[in-house]
Symmetry: none
Subunit: 207 residues, 4 copies
DNA sequence: TATGAATGAGTATTCATTCAT
DNA sequence: GATGAATGAATACTCATTCAT
């Protein structure tokens, strides 16, 4: 045997691609954080760059422009919701149980930077192209919630109501989580989410 | 007798003050409309001025600066909520009844331009000064809701819960009304508000 | 009589409008000068502003954007050519005489800052809208030259040739005046223009 | 005998140098094409690189910087004119004949990408350094034309005139060929060049 | 040789704000 | 009261250029 291979100082192509991907993600996370903290319009790309110890043009190496960064944040936030799973019809649970699982996931994501971006940014701030894409995802989520409600109504686990309005109200209520400024520990965290959803499930009237 | 008084071309002081007040309100309404339509940061003062057929500097005669206009919009929106009354402890109604009345009012105001301003602007987008002012008003409303909840819990008309979280959830849920883009007729109007609040009161679980 | 009127310190509306017009022209002249000296792309609006002792945003008060300034320069240069007159068919002169008059005017304008702008800027640098406008004027000038050539050929004062190519060559030749860097006194001024045009009229071959 | 030589995977030095030369030329041609199509300043090095399926930094391996590329284009264009020959005093032809040959060559080159680069770039758009270099080459051509004119005047084949102005006018007129946007077939090609030069030789006045 | 990554310097444009009139 | 004019400050975006690999 002719000895051990010497570790090459040059990174291989796949490794490079992976590194780039990592950096892109880092940019995205930084952006999500700053956007959700100071608002999209009040945030300059300089601010984003600074948190990464990079210069502004570097950001353009990873994203076409500021709006693309925002769109990616929003999209990522929304994707996280779907990525949670738990809403599959197959698993034998009641509509209510599946809905609660989904809403919990939704609420949890709303507490992340990405979720806050998704919830805080008005569609009007996105470019036509991004708007369409985002709208499609949001519609998907809305439909998912409506379907779960309908299923629950059918199997008797949810009280009859107009699924459209109910879905709108539930999502809207949960959105306020991401919209609020989470300085208050009581209004953050999984315990709070539990109470929050329990409220939506049971209402405020005594049973 | 010393003859009839000649109509002075100069208006009297009180009349002038009144006129100024009227114009100030006109500016405010215009601002509320445009801000709520395009978002505060995306709206230039030129746009506000244009809808009034005035020039930009004129606005400065009525408001110190752009943020002051926004703050006034928000404040006005929140004032409208309080102005609705119905939350007075004296009138013998249950906490629940008074809470429902208050929330209804809240929801209705959320559909106005002023309400949308109040609800759509994230605290993060305001300067420190305005942020404080707005926060104070919002805190007032929050306290009002909490108090009503507590009263309801005490008189048995509302199920026991943490008033803080419940108030947060209720307000948040209603805010989504003002935040939504009211293109959908089903998701606007007083009928919808009724269903919306009924949902919050009764929850989605069957009773 | 109750005395002489006191000169009001406030300028009257028409005077104001006039003043604005003057300033706009001043901006245009400054732009024409700088553009023609350093080239459109190498000239920053800061440079234009500096020659006027104004700040950059002031320019935007008079022109929509940089390209609009350029377009106005070009248009003004081309307009100057037509404004010269002398090409009217009515005046009994031969086609040749009228052509020479027109070309002389053309050459003279080419020596001005506006003319140099018109001649130096490629159509490609203009916006679609400006391009069309400019192209229309240029076509008009081209047609004017062709018509004069045709008239001259008809009345025998000009040798027969393809008016299209001849017009192209004449205009092209004269354009080089505006394109050259006039540091050389021998290659500027009316005397030079005379010789230049005489050359085009008589050719270089001995007669 | 020591066996057959193994073909080395490394290319010999001269071959390498040659390859490099070829690539450098490829870069130059690509640059000339893009510069002449979109204008020097409006063309980014990315654009040049793209047409070669290379990345931007690669260009720097062959040229010091962007301006050096432009200068090389211009120089190459002007070299092409000289390379045409035909202007040698020795061959017994008249000054006029030699001048016509030279101008024809000049016009032909003006229709190439390199020629267009040379003709389209205004001195004002270049840096001081490049300007000097380009100016020197242009001066060389100008002198050549003047000499031919003088020779023609001397041998009687060209009408007496100021060689300086005449040379300026002839070159200027021919430059317009390269400057025009050759969409019009009538205004391109060798036939047109013939007519163009005939016009300059004979003038437009009837003989 | 060629490239991925990063950057410095520049530039057009917007907009809230001021002020003399 | 209202406006024309002007400005300072900010900011997104571009691009030639560099350098380690």
């Amino acid at each position: 045997m002719s000895g051990t291979a010497i570790a090459s100082p040059w990174k291989k192509a796949p490794e490079r691609r992976h590194e780039r991907e990592l950096k892109r993600e880092a940019v995205l996370m930084a952006a999500a954080r700053v956007f959700s903290e100071r608002g999209y319009h009040r945030t300059s790309l300089d601010a984003v760059a600074q948190t990464l110890n990079v210069t502004k043009p570097t950001l353009y190496y990873y994203f076409e422009n500021k709006e693309a960064m925002l769109a990616a944040c929003v999209q990522h936030g929304l994707d996280l919701v779907e990525a949670g799973g738990g809403a599959e019809p197959a698993n034998g649970a009641t509509g209510m149980a599946r809905l609660v699982a989904y809403l919990t996931r939704y609420a949890e994501v709303s507490e992340t930077d990405f979720g806050r971006c998704a919830v805080r940014i008005s569609d009007a701030e996105l470019s036509e192209a991004s708007r369409k894409r985002v709208r499609r995802i949001k519609t998907g989520i809305d439909r998912r919630i409506r379907d779960l409600i309908s299923a629950g109504i059918t199997d008797g686990s949810i009280a009859p109501s107009d699924p459209k309005i109910t879905a709108f109200a539930l999502a809207g209520a949960l959105n306020s989580i991401g919209r609020s400024h989470q300085r208050d520990a009581d209004l953050t965290g999984s315990k709070m989410i539990g109470q929050y959803i329990a409220l939506l499930v049971n209402g405020i009237a005594p049973r």
